[in-house]
């Protein structure tokens, strides 16, 4: 049984390791084989970018060699897939090689697309890539006061970033002693401050206390850089001196080019994680079209459920459980306080007041992540 995992990020890595442990015997006997193809020899802990953009972490702290994270039985190649031939059970890679499989799992992630809103790329900062986070840090260093406007595109990865980036910037300016010179304007696409109603209610109180102005039902339409104004689809506008963006995201171009899903989002069954219309193709993490958070924790819990099922399919001929929509998100509420939200398809979240203990747990998780990627946690 040949299992091919495309993508060596959070989802692909946790799946591969978890599966390798479950199939130790089959891998040893040559009855199963796991191959991973990825686009990079490095694995980035993306959540760390939130700290990079305010100068609290250096980018090199966020990378590990992907090969060192994988169980030794996993065959790993840095050779991105260019063509998916799903009916023929094979893919073709950049190097020109063809890899065939019995089961394929696609976990190629998503990317921020500031260029999809006119004027946004040129006139805003964001924390979604190493380059962008470093640029944000440089622009923040040179910012000595004025209006900071936060604008949020949909869909985006990490649902907590709009709130977290606001809290983190607030404390950054406080530490620099210039908070009184900064006016914050937080905008959000829907009629409350966060898509999770209890989180939005909690943020409302926090923002009032912090003197942060808010405008809801604000979807970016275009940015007028010359006049420092952002216009919304709803017909309103906001001035800014510094525009902090959560850009709209797309899945990977290769997904769209191969006709696997519009905008790079692959139609996926919410319980089995099967690609719709295919019996031996599965999808994990950001690249699904599922109406749940594009978050590392989503990829993690999906990977655990899928590893259990794929191992069961190989050992017993049947999957053993459904993915229940589980997501767990930390919410950094400043530089030293945090809370979290946990929910699934049936249970809404109930976030508690932020405290220092959860913040320190998040800081510890930033390191524990590497154990989690290895499939140990």
């Amino acid at each position: 049984m040949k299992i091919l995992i495309v993508g060596g990020g959070m989802g692909g890595t946790i799946l591969a390791n978890n599966l390798a442990r479950r199939l130790k015997h089959e891998l040893k006997m040559g009855k199963a084989h796991i191959t991973m193809l990825s686009a990079s020899e490095q694995h980035m802990y993306q959540p760390g970018l939130l700290y990079v953009c305010v100068g609290r972490m250096a980018p090199d702290e966020l990378y590990r060699e992907q090969a060192t994270l994988l169980e030794p039985e996993i065959e790993f190649h840095v050779d991105p897939v260019e063509e998916f031939h799903l009916p023929k059970n094979h893919v073709k890679t950049k190097s020109g090689k063809v890899y065939d499989y019995d089961i394929i799992v696609i976990a190629t992630g998503s990317r921020a697309m500031p260029e999809s809103i006119p004027g946004l790329a040129e006139n805003s900062v964001n924390c979604y890539t190493e380059t962008a986070a470093l640029d944000m840090w440089r622009q923040l260093k040179g910012f000595n006061g004025g209006t900071v406007t936060i604008a949020v595109g949909v869909p985006h990865k990490c649902p907590m970033i709009p709130l977290e980036v606001t809290f983190v910037l607030h404390d950054y300016f406080k530490d620099r002693g210039i908070l009184d010179k900064v006016k914050f304007q937080y905008t959000y696409p829907i009629g409350r401050l966060h898509s999770l109603a209890p989180v939005g209610e909690w943020a409302q109180g926090e923002f009032e206390r912090m003197g942060i102005h808010t405008e809801t039902l604000f979807n970016m339409k275009e940015v007028d850089g010359a006049n420092h104004v952002i216009h919304s689809e709803e017909g309103t506008q906001k001035p800014f001196d510094l525009l902090v963006a959560v850009p709209p995201h797309k899945g990977m171009e290769v997904i769209e080019k191969n006709g696997l899903g519009q905008n790079g989002w692959i139609p996926t069954d919410r319980h089995s994680l099967k690609m719709e219309g295919h019996d031996n193709a599965y999808v994990l993490g950001d690249t699904t079209n599922l109406p749940i958070s594009k978050a590392g924790s989503t990829a993690h819990f999906e990977a655990e459920a899928l590893a259990e099922n794929l191992a069961a399919v190989i050992k017993l001929g049947e999957p053993v459980r459904d993915y229940d929509g589980k997501v767990f998100c930390f919410i950094e509420a400043g530089k030293d306080r945090a809370t979290y939200a946990m929910f699934n398809y049936n249970q809404p979240p109930a976030p508690k007041a932020p405290n220092k203990a959860v913040h320190w747990f998040k800081m510890a998780y930033n390191q524990l992540y590497w154990a989690s990627a290895r499939g140990l946690l």
Binding site: V154, P159, I190, S195, E234, P291, I292, S293, Y345
Partner: protein, 76 residues
């Protein structure tokens, strides 16, 4: 040619039915209809509020067995 597409946002707490619709509208062509399925009664109010504010059109809203169906046409 205009199309009709379903956005199945049942049992979703995040990003939520309206966020899914906003993302879906961006991908749609003018004239396309999008039907949002939601188990959250609030969506039956949130979605029309946003659609009216932006200037698209709510074609209809109905409820069956705890699932709200809100059909929206992209008009611009």
């Amino acid at each position: 040619m205009s199309e009709k597409r379903t956005i199945d946002a049942r049992g979703t707490f995040c990003p939520g039915p309206l966020m899914e619709l906003i993302a879906g509208i961006k991908q749609a062509e003018i004239g396309d209809e999008l039907e949002v399925l939601s188990t959250d009664e609030g969506s039956a109010n949130d979605i029309p509020e946003w659609v009216n504010k932006v200037g698209h059109e709510v074609v209809g809203t109905s409820e069956a067995a705890g699932v709200w169906h809100v059909v929206v046409r992209k008009t611009k």
